[in-house]
């Protein structure tokens, strides 16, 4: 499948994957994250069930301290 991840086109072997699988493949191991699929917020307890499929627009925002 081909998705847009943080405004960049990415291709994966699988047809679908969960948010957790994506975070693992991309080694996004940060604790504080905000994930949206096609503009919809995915809550933390949905990371193992929320599914990403072909043509989805995914945003992963890594939150770092400072301000």
């Amino acid at each position: 499948m081909k998705i847009t991840l943080n405004n960049t086109s990415e291709e994966f072997g699988q047809d679908v994957m969960t948010v957790n699988e994506l975070l693992k493949v991309k080694t996004f191991t940060f604790k504080m994250l905000v994930v949206r699929i096609n503009g919809i917020l995915v809550k933390k307890d949905e990371y193992s069930t929320a599914v990403i499929k072909d043509k989805d627009d995914v945003m992963v925002l890594h939150l770092v301290s400072g301000g």
Binding site: G39, L61, V64, S65, G66, G67
Partner: protein, 193 residues
Amino acid sequence: MTFGEIKVKLKTRTVGIAGCGGLGSNCAVALARVGIGTLILTDFDVVSESNLNRQYYFLSQVGEPKAPALKRVIHQINPSVSVIAYEIKLDPEHILRYFKDCDVIVEAFDEAGQKEMLIETVLSAFPEKPLVVGVGMAGWGMNDCIHYRHAGNLHICGDEVTEISENVPPLAPRVGMVANMQANVVLEILLKS
């Protein structure tokens, strides 16, 4: 658009700023200078001397609660801005109560966990409301790493990677850059509509 026309447009607009530290104080002052109508400020902390390396306060204000202290700073620059200052540690319930009528919300917290809480709350409760967040601005130099991107109504300013630590402190130039980028995004949103 002339500055006069800009001021007329901004006069009726309300911006909520979550946190009055390095990002919030500088962003609020920039918006006050250009004539924003109303600012809703929240912060639970007091001004300390160590804040003065980046936050828009003065030595004479050390010890004062930040939200009302920032209100006084703003009124010395532009007394026509209506400022509502809350001395509170924002939780999801406060966000829903205090920010529901804002045209734009600015995330200006220090701590990553608080940033996450605010973003999740706003995106769930007010999916249509523009939210401008600041992520990654510690240290110095690296001008070319600071950027802006947006996904729908979520607007992100910062380098998205630099975390504060003892050897990478937040300092006026980079924090001010991101705070002013946030203010600039707010203007773009408000002047478009």
